[in-house]
């Protein structure tokens, strides 16, 4: 009975994730682990890229971001029942990711010296070949923006990333970060101001 409820719940959550579950074998008791695994695999395929990018922006460390991504999905599946059926899963997942990052930061503070950051564009460019869009944009400008992001406090950077990179509304940002709508707007505005200041300085240097 419990396994059936679990399977129904997973299916409901998968439908929220717009993942089609065509097989109809998830009702038997013995299949419960495989149902979970399949559900986790599909959700991961759909959303892991966004979660991982967010984790990269927040941690600016590849190894740490990979850990955060894994931990986020594991936690998400442990608390699947807290996801409301009509809720978009991505903000929910990013909220979990943000908490995981905060916890890992506190842990790192307790454990000793901070881990080396490798978030600068120059260091991470070897990760994949450049896309045409990236080649089109001024490479230096990307570096300037990245440098500006690096100077921002983590929460402010997270707010800007959620708005610009993930394209979330201010209401969703407020939900992910646990802020009021007004605070979300203020944080994004301040982050933008810092970003523009850096870009202006860069452009002024060119002239």
């Amino acid at each position: 009975m419990r396994a059936r409820e679990d399977a129904v719940l997973v299916s409901a959550q998968l439908s929220v994730l717009n993942v089609q579950d065509r097989e109809d074998d998830c009702a038997s008791e013995g299949d419960t682990p495989s149902v979970r695994e399949r559900a986790l695999s599909r959700a991961y395929q759909e959303l892991s890229q966004d979660v991982h990018r967010f984790a990269m922006h927040l941690t600016r460390n590849r190894a740490l971001a990979a850990d955060v991504t894994q931990e986020t999905f594991v936690r998400a599946f442990r608390r699947l029942e807290t996801l409301r059926v009509r809720e978009r899963p991505l903000p929910w997942l990013l909220g979990i990711a943000r908490n995981v990052v905060r916890e890992s930061r506190h842990q790192a503070k307790r454990d000793g010296p901070p881990q080396e950051r490798d978030g600068h564009v120059a260091n991470v460019e070897t990760m994949s070949p450049p896309t045409p869009e990236r080649m089109m944009l001024d490479r230096e400008l990307v570096q300037v923006v990245d440098g500006a992001l690096d100077t921002l406090a983590t929460d402010r950077r997270a707010a800007l990333v959620l708005r610009v990179d993930q394209g979330m509304s201010y209401a969703e940002i407020a939900e992910v970060m646990g802020w009021t709508l007004a605070k979300a707007k203020v944080e994004v505005h301040r982050a933008r101001s810092t970003l523009r200041e850096h870009v202006r300085r860069y452009q002024g240097g060119l002239q």
Binding site: Y44, M56, E133, V145, R196
Partner: protein
């Protein structure tokens, strides 16, 4: 339409209806400040889209599945450990509860049991030992029928009552036993 940064932002992020979009476009054609704002926002978006983190690949799903499985096993192990501790605590509590009334009963029995007179302090060592033996065996002896005081005490306690001349009052309940 008046200048509105929020509207320009919504326009850049494609959050406006078609009619509103047309209005903003018309405004942008005439307002330099708003056109400037739009340029900033577009540059910002383009910079994020060109950011190398866009192509960062997450760890393979197998890692997450392994992590999840390990976590689940750990979860059940913890539950099992907690369950065992609780069961042991309950068992220990029950044991204490069962043994506690017995101790009280024993005390009560001891209090109500017929007392065997302790030999007086002036008796000899042999006499004291005999008296003590009778004393400790007093309860057992009481169960026997009181036919003959000497015979009874010899058979029940294995103690020869002959040398006893210090008159320990063994059987307070039975007057036929009085020496």
């Amino acid at each position: 339409m008046n200048c509105s940064v929020d509207l320009i932002e919504a326009y850049v992020y494609g959050e406006l209806t078609t009619r509103r979009q047309a209005e903003v476009e018309a405004h942008l054609a005439t307002c330099e400040a708003c056109a400037n704002e739009r340029a900033w926002l577009s540059t910002e978006r383009a910079a994020f889209e060109a950011h190398p983190f866009r192509e960062a690949t997450p760890p393979p799903v197998e890692c997450v599945l392994a992590h999840e499985g390990r976590d689940r096993r750990l979860f059940w192990l913890k539950r099992g450990a907690v369950g065992t501790v609780i069961a042991l605590s309950i068992a220990a509590g029950f044991g204490l509860w069962v043994s506690a009334p017995r101790a009280v009963d024993a005390e009560r029995t001891a209090a109500t049991a017929p007392r065997v007179a302790v030999p007086p302090a002036t008796t000899s060592t042999v006499e004291s030992a005999v008296g003590a033996a009778y004393d400790s065996a007093g309860d057992r002896c009481e169960a026997y029928e009181q036919t003959s005081c000497e015979r009874r005490c010899e058979s029940a306690c294995g103690v020869d009552s002959k040398p006893r001349e210090v008159e320990p009052v063994l059987w307070s309940g039975g007057d036929s036993c009085s020496p």
